[in-house]
């Protein structure tokens, strides 16, 4: 038979466009063994590969390689050439393989579930921490903004606090408004021991009035809103003492800061 028609079929086959009966016929021709057509297909494949190579290369998303390396890492090892085995052996092997696969699957699933659970917990904890920190920051920002606002008022005054006794290095400033109250900012104050807190006092003509408890951060800084004094009575002295966490009504602990007269 004339080979010429096969050359056209081979070209069309090489670009994947051969269909219908012609395809069936060509595949039969190939199966019978045809060096000429084999060579045409081989050269065409090389030419199309060269065409692909002549285009600019592109790096694929890294996740593809990661996934592949994971897949081949967990794939069963290579098997040798298949051998004929007695059926019993084959059945036994298949059963063992299925059992092993089921066991491995369950084990892997359990491992992953445990790991996922742990990750979910860590993630939730982190989320809560971030929320707490954000809330604290918001609060701080609000304090500074309000303090700055207060300073614009000509009636506001700034009072210095000096460290006393146990914490001579400590310093403080009170921004005070006779009607609206104010803020105290402290620095270099050691963290209060567990269960304790710093308490601010406003002192006028009468007994010291409690003006709230506060803590300082690790760097010794703290800020605290001071409520207005009842009836707008003048304050002559601001003082800070170390008290129990909940605060007390009359000062009992050591005085750590006081305004200079």
């Amino acid at each position: 038979m004339n080979h010429e028609p096969y050359e056209t079929l081979a070209a069309t086959y090489a670009v994947g466009a051969l269909d219908g009966e012609e395809r069936v016929e060509f595949e039969r021709h190939l199966a019978e063994g045809c060096d000429v057509c084999e060579a045409t297909l081989r050269e065409s494949a090389e030419a199309l590969a060269a065409l692909a190579r002549s285009r600019p290369p592109m790096i694929p998303p890294p996740a593809v390689k990661e996934e592949l390396m994971r897949r081949i890492g967990t794939a069963p090892g290579r098997r040798g050439a298949p051998r004929r085995r007695p059926l019993v052996w084959a059945v036994g092997t298949v059963a063992a393989t299925i059992a092993a696969a089921a066991f491995t699957g369950a084990y892997v699933a359990a491992r992953y579930e445990a790991r996922l659970g742990q990750m979910a917990r860590e993630s939730a904890a982190l989320h809560a921490k971030v929320q707490r920190e954000e809330a604290a920051l918001q609060e701080q920002v609000a304090v500074y903004r309000n303090a700055a606002e207060l300073l614009r008022d000509p009636q506001a005054q700034v009072v210095s606090l000096r460290g006393l006794g146990p914490s001579p290095e400590a310093t403080g400033r009170v921004i005070w408004h006779p009607v609206n109250g104010g803020y105290v900012f402290v620095a270099n104050l050691p963290s209060a021991p567990t269960g304790k807190a710093y308490e601010l006092w406003t002192i006028g003509d009468a007994a010291p009035q409690p003006a709230g408890v506060f803590q300082v951060d690790a760097s010794g800084r703290g800020a605290h809103r001071i409520p207005p004094v009842e009836g707008g009575k003048p304050v002559k002295v601001f003082a800070v003492t170390l008290e129990t966490e909940a605060g007390v009504l009359t000062p009992t602990g050591p005085m750590v800061l006081a305004s200079t007269k």
Partner: protein, 183 residues
């Protein structure tokens, strides 16, 4: 050139994962743009790429260097899998013509000056497809990149089937010559 790739496939056949990693780094950047050109969506292209390399790992023991370079082995496989993917999509969506239309419209041929410039930049041959006549290039692109069969191409171009066959054959012969002539 081919021997490094062939060695890698041999090592892969022996279960060498390191060889597979090197093989991937070497051929993925070549076949990925081909797959992307055919399937268009990056996510789909990534899926097909993974499938193709997975098969390469699986089929490495069957690779026969006498039958072609590892590059041709991978490119042929990549093209086939990418076409499988778009054919499946077309069957599902039943918007064969619309998809095809869009696909062809979305893939404007590179203009000759660009190709020449790039070839000069990379010190490589001018894209071999640019050496074909427009009619030859058209049928090869419709077959190879759009996955149309000869019958579909004839319908699409409203040309006799015999004309389509001849163009494919001449175009592919030209392509083989160009590639053989280049270093």
């Amino acid at each position: 050139m081919a021997t490094i790739g062939a060695d890698l496939v041999r090592q892969m056949a022996a279960g060498d994962r390191e060889a597979f990693a090197v093989f991937y780094d070497r051929y993925a950047p070549v076949v990925f743009p081909l797959i992307l050109r055919i399937v268009r969506e990056r996510a789909d292209a990534s899926d097909v790429l993974q499938e193709v390399f997975w098969e390469a790992w699986r089929d490495a023991p069957a690779y026969d260097a006498a039958r072609g370079s590892p590059e041709a082995w991978m490119v042929t496989r990549a093209r086939t899998r990418a076409i499988d993917r778009i054919r499946a999509t077309r069957r599902r969506s039943e918007t064969f013509v619309a998809t095809l239309d869009e696909g062809i419209a979305a893939a404007p041929r590179e203009s000759a000056p660009d190709a020449a410039e790039r070839a000069a930049d990379r010190g490589t041959i001018l894209s071999a497809l640019d050496r074909l006549t427009d009619a030859q290039r058209e049928v090869i692109e419709l077959a190879y990149y759009a996955g149309l069969t000869q019958t579909e191409i004839a319908e699409w171009l409203k040309q006799p089937l015999g004309t389509v066959k001849t163009r494919i054959r001449l175009g592919l012969e030209r392509l083989r010559e160009v590639v053989k002539a280049s270093p």
